[in-house]
Symmetry: C2
Subunit: 221 residues, 2 copies
Amino acid sequence: MSNDENIYRQMLNAIVEHQLPPGARLPEDRLSEAFGVSRTGIRKVLQRLALEHFVIIEKNKGAQVNRPNEAEASEVLDSRILIEPQLIPALLDHWNTEHSERFRIMVTEEKRAEEANQLADSIQLTARFHYELAKLSGNQVLASFVEQLCYRSSLILAAYGTRGSVGCECGDHSQLLDILDQGRKDEAKTWMSHHLKHIKSSLILESKPEENIDFQRLFGR
Amino acid sequence: MSNDENIYRQMLNAIVEHQLPPGARLPEDRLSEAFGVSRTGIRKVLQRLALEHFVIIEKNKGAQVNRPNEAEASEVLDSRILIEPQLIPALLDHWNTEHSERFRIMVTEEKRAEEANQLADSIQLTARFHYELAKLSGNQVLASFVEQLCYRSSLILAAYGTRGSVGCECGDHSQLLDILDQGRKDEAKTWMSHHLKHIKSSLILESKPEENIDFQRLFGR
DNA sequence: AATGAATTAATTGTGCACAATATTGGTGTG
DNA sequence: CACACCAATATTGTGCACAATTAATTCATT
């Protein structure tokens, strides 16, 4: 694996696993010495993360982990609600017992991670489940977008999730596999839709006091 | 406007307007002297364009304008077919006469550009029409994705489009506005779906002999 | 003349140094 | 004591130089 990709993965993981919480500053010096590469390499990675909305870069102020506002949180979830159920039909065209078994193993791991209270693994596995499902639709363009949305969702859960927002899905995922095994297309679509709406409704989107208030926008000018 | 953003825009325009055709090499030296900035700034822009799939960067071989293969072309159009019609309901919630007038002006410009045979303007305006429509749905996350897909479609038309692939849409767009003015939701959805399928079917996706055959994948390893 | 090796040229990858900017802390004055 | 101003520090922005890699050319050999 290329070095850049490796650093990117590590940082993305740290962000979605909430080890780098929303708002955390990411000074290039520290990162460059932590990873043992020059600032040049770090900057490349940070810019990629910024384009994918995982970090925010402000000119002459550096990078920090994105703290999604309520609008962004809502839109990301709405996007998933709009897209993921629509992928079910194409997905079912390729669905077979091998896939089913592979996903059941994933669900087992999800449960294990949840019971062991390993939040990081749990988050990763939940996102992977949805992404791998999207990939089976056969459309890699959409699958990549869904992947990004899933990881952004993890970030959103860090900011607006209740305790258990992540874990409470695990039992659910095996339900979907049952439905898919029976080839019930419409039921699978509505299940996916409900599932995502459930996640969205579990968020606390009331305007909680933001820690970095944009006073300029609020009063000034 | 920031300097980076300016360079990015100019290059993106040149690409989607087919002034930089698919496969064109983009040496950092030439670009840096053309734009009057150092290679550092150019690299940043190139990396952004690469993440958005407008250029391909190969290690130690530099950047070139992406030449989408048939799978990618198909998937991009399918993505639009899946998403854009679904945006209609939310869009209609905000639709009013001001919007209608604004879009009719855009369509008029489209026609003018087409009749004047100004391919570049025509391409830009077509993409803008779909993007601005998507923005009205109120979901900026999805709208940005649609924007990217529209521009990628321009690139695809450069590679697989027939003469008139671009222009033949203009008359159509005003049809949609009529339907929207009448608030006919389902009709607008199916219109959008047909419209995009029509564009996709106008592409020549037969496996034309690829100029760069990947012998590595074919035989090697 | 065709093939293959070796040299040369062109291009990208990476780290460093310095400039530009923002933030923080301190100092002096009203 | 409040306020403005200035200095110091920390951090990012940018360009340049050199290393590493690839592509092109030349040359020798059969």
